[in-house]
């Protein structure tokens, strides 16, 4: 069995002689694109097979050497299939063919490897949505959460919680393909909602709801920068900074509005991801934690932090649940002091 590297994939064949290499299809290169036999089992010479690249011969380990057929049988297997069609990029390709000839097993390590990568891909998607006012009367799932939200006496808070939960249903469906009505939500003793089928975290300001969904534990926090400026003057920001940041955090963040809020949102995000019980900001140390912070431009400047194993590959989307837009890097600004650990 030989192969030749074409770009970042390999084309496989059975080497009989320099004049006879049997492969399923011609190498996927532009010069063979219009050939009618490009998807059939064919015998070509080594120059056609290799397209000017250097062919590699398979080196089998002990187990493979025991399993493989004799050379005579391998050649017979390959020749018996000359002219056969039915090529499929994923399910019946040149590597499947070569392995069937050599081992009698249809497998493609390349396809399996890429499929594993897809299934294990890091997902960390954050959705932002304006909170509709007045609060819509639609029910959210599960019913217990719906009852909690309806019992909320503060109109603004009820609208924010309702929007965040609606957005969660949307995000779970969109990023993870989950039918939210069939999910298993649980409420922990500490009052935190969890879901068996996904990891999620919610946050909101007065006007914007944020939802993070991931396939690893995740926490998200969102703050409006103007809100801090309205409530605190320069001196009191310094006071908050001195009081709540750990020594390690003070090495990373400046005592400015932006520096404080970056650290603060990271603390809340990290706490939501890992914490139990009450939130004691002095005890939550974000230094070295896997997190990412974004400044979201727009009518209201927002600072958004996400904490989680996949935070380094987080993507932010703006949505109204009808249309969804991936925010481009120039619409969001990554803030300094980022610690994106993979």
């Amino acid at each position: 069995m030989i192969r030749v590297r074409l770009g970042s994939v390999y084309h496989y064949g059975i080497f009989v002689s320099e004049d006879e290499v049997i492969a399923f299809g011609l190498p996927p290169v532009p010069e063979y694109q219009d050939r009618p036999d490009r998807f059939t089992v064919c015998a070509v010479d080594i120059d056609v097979f290799s397209c000017g690249r250097i062919p590699e011969a398979a080196v089998f380990d002990l187990g493979e050497r025991r399993k493989k057929f004799s050379a005579r049988r391998i050649v017979a297997n390959a020749r018996a299939r000359l002219g056969e069609g039915g090529y499929n990029l994923l399910h019946n390709n040149c590597e499947h063919f070569a392995n069937e000839c050599v081992f009698g097993e249809k497998r493609s390590a390349q396809t399996d490897d890429v499929r594993r990568r897809w299934l294990a891909r890091p997902i960390c998607h954050i959705y932002l949505m304006e909170i509709p006012r007045p609060c819509p009367d639609t029910a959210v799932y599960p019913p217990r959460r719906d009852a909690e939200i309806r019992n909320c006496g503060h109109d603004g808070l009820r609208a924010a919680k309702h929007a965040a939960w609606q957005l969660l249903a949307f995000a779970g469906r969109k990023s993870l393909g989950l039918d939210t009505d069939r999910l298993t939500f649980r409420k922990t003793r500490s009052g935190r909602w969890t879901c068996d089928e996904m990891f999620f975290s919610l946050s909101h300001t007065d006007s914007v709801a944020a939802v993070a969904v991931s396939n690893a534990p995740v926490g998200v926090d969102l703050e409006e920068t103007d809100r801090l400026s309205r409530r605190f003057t320069g001196d009191s920001v310094q006071e908050l900074y001195d009081r709540f940041l750990t020594d390690g955090e003070k090495q990373l963040y400046q005592p400015t509005d932006e520096g404080f809020l970056t650290c603060w949102t990271r603390k809340e995000a990290l706490y939501k991801r890992t914490g139990k019980g009450a939130f004691h900001p002095q005890r939550v140390d974000t230094a070295g934690a896997e997190a990412r912070t974004f400044r979201i431009k727009g009518d209201r400047a927002l600072i958004l932090s996400v904490s989680g194993e996949h935070a380094g590959s987080a993507h932010v989307f703006a949505t109204d649940r009808e249309r969804t837009t991936l925010l481009a890097p120039e619409e969001i600004k990554l803030l300094g002091g980022d610690v994106c650990l993979h």
Binding site: L6, G7, S8, V9, G25, P28, P30, Q33, R38, F39, G85, G86, Y87, N88, L89, L90, H91, N92, Q110, T111, V114, R115, R117, W118, L119, R121, P122, I123, H125, K174, S175, G177, S313, H315, R323, T324, T325, L326, L327, A328, P329, E330
Partner: protein, 84 residues
């Protein structure tokens, strides 16, 4: 499923394949060329095809190769045709 929903699904797939390309993906249209504009390699093409099968629950036909898709629009056309 509408074409724009298919494009959004594809964008998620492409982000998962190569998230260093967020800027190009945020602006991608049906006319975006997979290799020239979105920096596709043969492995990202394979990744995309696998992910499309998983995400849209379709199966690519036999005798379809990566070279059959030049633009994102070509991929959307194919998925649209295969969806029930």
């Amino acid at each position: 499923m509408t074409r724009s929903e298919i494009i959004e699904g594809l964008r998620d797939i492409l982000l998962a394949a190569d998230d260093r390309n967020v800027e190009a993906l945020a602006r991608c249209t049906e006319q975006s060329r997979l290799m020239a504009d979105l920096g596709f390699s043969s492995v990202s093409m394979l990744y995309m095809v696998i992910a499309i099968e998983e995400r849209f629950h379709i199966r690519f036909d036999d005798n379809v190769g990566a070279a059959d898709f030049a633009t994102l629009g070509d991929v959307v056309d194919y998925i649209e045709k295969k969806l029930p």
